[in-house]
Amino acid sequence: MNDYPWLTTLIVVPLVGALVTGFLPRVPGGDLAKKVGLGFAALTLLLAAAAATQYSPGAELQLTEERDWIEPLGVHYALGVDGLGLLMVLLTAVLVPFVLLASWRDTDEPAAGGVRQGSANAFVAWALALEALSIAVFTATDVFLFYVVFEATLIPAYFLIGGFGRSGRSRAAVKFLVYQLAGGLIMLGSVIGLYVVSARQGTPTYLLTELAALDLDGTTGRWLFVGFFIAFAIKAPMFPVHTWLADTTEKATPGTSVLLVCILDKIGTFGMLRFCLGLFPEASQWATPAVVILALISIVYGALVAIGQDDVLRLIGLTSLSHFGFIVLGIFVFSSNGGSGSILYMVNHGIGTAALFLVAGFLMRRTGTSRISEMGGLEKVTPVLAGMMLVAGLAAAGLPGLAPFVSEMLVIISAFDYAWWAGGVAVTGIVLAAVYILWMYQRTMTGPTTLPAVEGMVDLDRREVGAVAPLLLALVLFGFFPMPLLDVINPYVEDTLVDVGISEDSPTVKTPAYLEAGLR
């Protein structure tokens, strides 16, 4: 079974699901498309799990497939996963079924005065299309192919934001799209630059394995790095190109926000690791000081702005800005702790923030508002909802025993290794996280109830519990046993650091002493 094209299957299955659900008859209030879509998502998850069993921990690319695609441009249809890619694929495959389950009622006809929603068929179809393209992004080992699917993810994302959610969403969709397109086009410059450089050094190619052998140091490499980095920074998002984030999460449905923030935005940090560090080690080290400072600003600024929010979805969106700051910080301090912590953080953030978004969606469905100031005292009415909100929130705040704590610790330790001030600033992110999470909980769940809708409000039903409980269990599980994840992550991180380390011979770059220490 080793030659079986696992990764292509993983892309094709949800894509077929998207087409099928898209063309199913549209019955108002009907569940058929959702059930079929959920079936396809579950099948993808099973296949992803099966593919994971074929993977053996190690640094090299596995489950590879390679075919010529556009020969004149040196473009291949090449797929493969390393530890990082595998985890991201699994994260995607895990989250989508839960999103579909949690969004079951989001496309229903709204109550009087509500905003008209797109059809359920369309939501499921776009979500599955997004899943297929995201998996393609995480497995592409040809830069051109990566770019193509990277941009293609915008189309389902755009229609998910524009078609579903609250009023003002089409504006948010345009803002999202224009930001992402701008980043993508800047990256296009670098992608083409890679072609030109590879042509000058022999034959033009886009294959990651062949590009890695090129000499991409010096000024050209730095410019190409900058092009890639800007695109990924917009995607991630990082300060100062984050402003699309809060608008989007506020207007889109929580399910869409999960797909965007927990899966799609990971492409940003994934790309930094795979392309910025993988192809331009020298330029990455050159850029480290600037990137670290931007990451620190993201951590603190995101948290501070989140504290001030009155809209629960905006708040959660902005917490992600802070969390992505941690991830980027861990990546760019170049130590095994930082690298492993970051990748672990990408997984944990995916699960934790997904739970938080989905619970917030349930909350809004019951209260009919997203304003924190209009809620209050709900823990007595809906204890299960409140409990889940608390667990998901505390995970985001980095409480020991829950998964994000481990990754946050690793990143902060590595930040202190890098420089005392970096660690010091990063720590404040944790303190602020406790403030925004607990304050939000206090204002929504405790105290007197002020909402008129509280009469007859019911707690979470079985479907809703089923959509979030497994995520919370995973948070607890990985909080105590992160080793299965780290076993997959560590070989990848060591390999990447060795890559980066090769350029240390250059006298202009300060050799980080912690590098060896961390590797031992």
């Binding site: 441009l73 040196g74 193509v148 941009e151 397109l181 701008a182 030109v196 042509a199 034959t203």
Partner: protein, 534 residues
């Protein structure tokens, strides 16, 4: 005095050209002698059959081109210089002929559409009748239509084919006029909004004549410099003669003005929005796709073959023109409220992207084996751009209200709900023009940027990327309008077209998708076309 020498004509190699011109002449005779009732059918069939025959001849010529080699056995170019040194039938020529003919065939389908206007074509019933007079109303009630548009179009096609094949300055000038004059006329023949249409024709004619004057003056100066009209001799003179640089540079500049006017590059772009808006939409579609192909072919041949050795002189000029064109096209498109004007400005921006490819000319030795050449990039981009533009204008003919085509952008709001398929196809064309991956526009953009970047024209590429971002915004705006805005008033309607327009749209959409997913074969074909013959 020399004896008169009978010119030798390579009839076989020139057959596509001859077929098109012959059909055009027959078309004129049909107008003169056939009864009115059968003209429509005769003319459409004649034009379509003629173009298909010419396309078949082009393919036949293309497969049999002689290969020219250097002493070392490297392939330099393919083809021959025929008709006493005036016409070059080489790889790029054949590629451009094929492209022009395909676009012309699709345009004939649009020209022949009669269901959208309720049984008559999109052209004026009687062009001579003043707008708003009894004569016009009478022409309209009698269901008159001008079938002269087909021979006119065939002459324009002939000119478009001759233009990039011209191997000396005079032939190029003649081709320029042959392609332009019928277009001036066609622009003024709209059935609806006739004043706008006539104004467009007038503007196009005056400015076009003006630019022809520049071109002709340039021809004279370059002749004065080189002592010959032929590109090869001019090239020879450029290599050897270091005197009279002023004459050469002025001549080159004036020739460039004439050609840059035709492609719609800034600062010679001002006619495009008015003409694109005023002309009957099928003509706009034909003109946008065909003229661009022909004029870029001619521009590239002139610059590469005649002035190739002096590229350090013209490359900086093209840098500035390309940058200016992209910025003007993208920025002014932002404020447009009419879909045809919007597409016109988008066309200007695309001219800038094409120029980015043209200025990426490099010596053969500077390129790696198999690397994209600038000519290959330009040829490929022309194909992608032509299909997307033609398709987009074809969709414009279908969106109508009681006053004809509803070209005001505000009338397009909510089209996505009204006619999901049509809106979807149009959105797809817009995405292609914006250069989103998996559409042809992306690969096209990639190739021209790659060509420019390998020639170290990175400032141009940076501007190109920035204008692409701006351009993406206005394309997206239209998509948003169609899908996420509620219709104003009674809303737009999509009139069901006959199979003719539907076929044209389907072909354009299909090709746009195909070239986005599998561009390899066409890129190979463009690579095989090779270099211009010298």
């Amino acid at each position: 005095m020399n004896e008169f020498v009978k010119p030798t004509i390579e009839y076989a190699e020139l057959s596509p050209l001859l077929v098109v011109f012959a059909v055009a002449c027959v078309g004129v005779l049909v107008e003169a002698f056939a009864p009115r009732s059968v003209r429509y059918l005769t003319q459409t069939v004649l034009a379509a059959a003629g173009l298909v025959a010419a396309l078949a001849a082009t393919i036949w010529v293309g497969t049999g081109l002689d290969v020219l080699e250097t002493a070392g056995g490297d392939e330099v170019a393919r083809g021959l210089i025929g008709a006493m040194g005036t016409i070059a039938v080489d790889g790029p020529t054949v590629f451009l002929w094929g492209l022009t003919l395909v676009f012309a065939i699709l345009s004939v389908l649009l020209f022949a559409e009669r269901r959208l206007e309720g049984g008559v074509s999109a052209f004026a019933g009687q062009a001579a009748a003043l707008p708003g007079t009894d004569a016009e109303r009478e022409a309209s009630t009698r269901g008159l239509e001008h079938t002269e548009v087909y021979p006119l179009m065939m002459f324009a096609v002939g000119g478009m084919m001759l233009f990039p094949a011209a191997n000396d300055l005079l032939t190029m000038f003649v081709a320029l006029e042959v392609l332009s004059l019928p277009l001036y006329l066609l622009c003024g023949l709209a059935r609806r909004r006739r004043l706008l249409s006539q104004e467009a024709a007038m503007k196009y004619f005056l400015l076009g004549a003006f630019s022809s004057g520049f071109f002709l003056y340039g021809v004279a100066l370059v002749y004065g410099y080189a002592g010959s009209m032929e590109f090869a001799d001019i090239n020879e003179a450029v290599r050897n003669d270091v005197n009279n640089q002023g004459l050469l540079l002025t001549g080159m500049g004036l020739l460039a003005v004439g050609l840059l006017f035709k492609v719609g590059a800034a600062p010679f772009q001002s006619w495009m929005p008015d003409v694109y808006q005023g002309a009957p939409t099928p003509v706009t579609a034909f003109m946008a796709a065909g003229t661009k192909v022909a004029a870029f072919g001619a521009l590239a041949r002139l610059l590469y073959v005649a002035f190739g050795s002096d590229r350090w002189s013209w490359q900086p000029m093209l840098w500035i023109v390309a940058i200016l064109t992209m910025v003007v096209g993208a920025v002014l498109a932002l404020t447009q409220t009419d879909i045809k004007r919007l597409l016109a400005y988008s066309s200007i921006a695309h001219t800038g992207f094409l120029l980015t490819g043209v200025l990426g000319l490099q010596a053969r030795g500077d390129l790696a084996l198999g690397q994209i050449t600038s000519l290959q990039a330009v040829l490929f981009y022309l194909a992608t751009y032509g299909f997307a533009t033609l398709g987009a204008f074809a969709v414009v003919t279908m969106v109508r209200d009681s006053a004809g085509e509803a070209t005001a952008l505000s009338r397009w709001a909510g089209l996505g709900k009204e006619a999901p398929v049509v809106a979807g196809v149009f959105a797809f064309f817009l995405l292609a023009m914006a250069g989103i991956p998996l559409t042809s526009g992306f690969v096209g953009k990639w190739t021209v940027f790659a060509a420019a970047l390998s020639a170290d024209a990175w400032p141009v590429v940076v501007v190109a990327i920035l204008s692409s971002i701006v351009a993406a915004f206005f394309y997206v705006r239209v998509i948003v309008l169609m899908y996420f805005s509620d219709p104003v008033g009674e809303g737009p309607t999509v009139t069901n077209p006959s199979v003719l327009t539907a076929t044209a749209v389907a072909v354009c959409a299909g090709v746009t998708l195909l070239l986005g997913v599998l561009p390899g074969p066409l890129l190979d074909l463009a690579a095989q076309a090779g270099e211009f013959i010298r």
